[in-house]
Symmetry: C2
Subunit: 433 residues, 2 copies
Amino acid sequence: MDGFRERDVTQLSATAAVAQIAEGRLTSRALVDALLARISLRDPDVRAWLALSETARELAEECDAVPAARRGRLHGLPIGVKDVFDTFDLPTTHNSPLYEGFRPAADAAVVDLLRSEGAIILGKTDTTEFAAAGRNAATANPHDLSRTPGGSSAGSAAAVADFHVPLALATQTGGSTIRPASFCGVVGFKPSFGRVSREGVRIYAQSFDTVGWYGRSVDDVALLASVLGLDEEFPAAGFSRNPRIALTLGPYKDRLSPESLMALTVARERLEGAGHRVQVLDLPPEFEPLDRHHRVILHREGQASFRNLARRHSSSLHDDFHHRVENRDGSSLADLARAYDAMGSARIAFDAFMGDFDILIAPSAPGFAPIGRGPGDPVFNASWTLLGVPCLNIPIPLGSSALPIGVTLTARRFADKHLLDVARHLEPVLNPT
Amino acid sequence: MDGFRERDVTQLSATAAVAQIAEGRLTSRALVDALLARISLRDPDVRAWLALSETARELAEECDAVPAARRGRLHGLPIGVKDVFDTFDLPTTHNSPLYEGFRPAADAAVVDLLRSEGAIILGKTDTTEFAAAGRNAATANPHDLSRTPGGSSAGSAAAVADFHVPLALATQTGGSTIRPASFCGVVGFKPSFGRVSREGVRIYAQSFDTVGWYGRSVDDVALLASVLGLDEEFPAAGFSRNPRIALTLGPYKDRLSPESLMALTVARERLEGAGHRVQVLDLPPEFEPLDRHHRVILHREGQASFRNLARRHSSSLHDDFHHRVENRDGSSLADLARAYDAMGSARIAFDAFMGDFDILIAPSAPGFAPIGRGPGDPVFNASWTLLGVPCLNIPIPLGSSALPIGVTLTARRFADKHLLDVARHLEPVLNPT
């Protein structure tokens, strides 16, 4: 986290950068230059990027020449894209040897939408293979290069954390957006299931896979949420200045390390110190088996997703994917039906549970980023993904020398804007940096 | 339906063609030649195809040269593909002017799997725009060119019905596989939700879209089901020679025309005439609102699916898609949550309901294929799609001069093989041709 000049534009938030470009105080070209210089300095160590755009400077200059009236909401803003999103002008490899150098003919729908709003795709970030299993990303945690940034969205989380780019696209199937956000100390957002197109995004589990993204503030992730259509009010009424806050350790609390417990305690103390009431509670027991059901659906839907690769590339496909295709877990179709049914019932139950609260605070990860390059344990994320609820990781600084750690803020399904509004309101309290 | 020579190989079922090729009694090249000749004769009227493979004859010759030991389960078999599946060697247009001449860089996962089993992709078939709304397919019903083959899988259904190809891929979001099967007099199969990869298939509604297919017999659709991994037994026990059969007119019976009522009556009489017991019953009242919930989810998920096209191609995108993106139905996010919850609850309820039955027989369409080129009314299909259950249309011939009509056989979720086994057993009774 070194190498800054004072007022380096790489430190700008996305919202600040967009505003400065709109006001003529910053050019997109200057921002791209600064970010590429930062990447050039840092990426030999961090290894966040699998490919960088060769036309980013040119695209930035084109942006700078566009009159104000024809500018989109992300005009001139560089964005990183996890390498499971199709891009027409950059290779899309899914970090799989089977897709080395693969060039899709078109952008994923989300990438296309970002470009149509003026964004510049700066490059493709490293990922756990197919955002699923197999090969780890080579990316290091910028806070400690011996540690993982978490996966699967390793490169996107590290790139935002290390000031290579202000915003980056991720995906989440278990905890692939939220957990790396906790490990890297950035804001991560996974919207409600089904509200953002996955067209052109590699699919692992069709009931779970959700496009997410990283920024360095709630405002930044909310900017992208708005562009992607998540700015519809629900519940219809806004929240009061005193949101109703619940906090839970969740049903897997015995797997929490001291630092994760501390992050939750500190979050609570900071909120209470600011005059908020925080109700600490257990989730109903029916939520306990959700992680197990998640795994059944995950592997069974993965069975369908990797069947053709297993058939065609038998020996060169990582064994993890053969594991899915051959159903080595041995789950039955009755198990699968039970898992889907539990998912349906739990979604209803969680919405009812959240009738009394604006947000629920929960762990983002078992603890600090582990040593190595593994993706990390999704146990504290998978149930929220299965529930289809919006999740936001907010960093909870424990002290200047500590590694990053965060907590998850969730809300009821489709209350994406509500969650972002409450998170923006609480951010100065929870993350007072 | 004219133009046959005696023992024309275009009339062969897929299973018969595969067997004859395997036994050396038929070459893939001869079959491809015959089908292309048939298409050349008929397609100026039927208009099933948007593109035909220019390399099919060459690929067939390559197949014919492969030794028996290296042959897949579809070796040498020509298959038609709805033009919402990506194909690397043929344009993929989604019947949208925005995608004219578009060439994906890779095959959809299902197409790749079929090719890996030796299938030859004969061409791309016409479809309702994006398998959703907008522009109709130009395809005619081969039984009466003034009538529609149904949509959205118009070209695939007509191509199989008119002996252009023995098997063809379809998709279903509402009734896009089953209804055209009824209108065209072919066997149509939509598997349980989530069991077949949609990678590289255009997505309209991510909770519903399912890859389906057409053949001219239950054996033919079962062949493809097996290749796609749907040959896992569930329930574990096979069915007896006397499957437990229920029949319902469904909650929308006031929208059934006389011919659809007759198809259900004839199906019942034929079964009872063959010694089967058929229990006629109403569905529980909680199934009545499912069609309405389906529409809410459909349009809201479509809102996400078409957002980027609406942003980028404002005036050249069909108004139907702007309708989705702008949520002109005016559904709220609370309506959406209720619709998903009703879906979850109804899936559980339907499995319980089906605990007493092996299959349920229901209408496939309101009646005969209407005049024109419209896709038709999905009211008798959408609820099954929402329930995620496997559905099979089986033709119920009402007399040699009558237009085709069929009935839907459904079973509980994931009982795909069971449904196909029961349907195969009952096919000679229901469709005695």
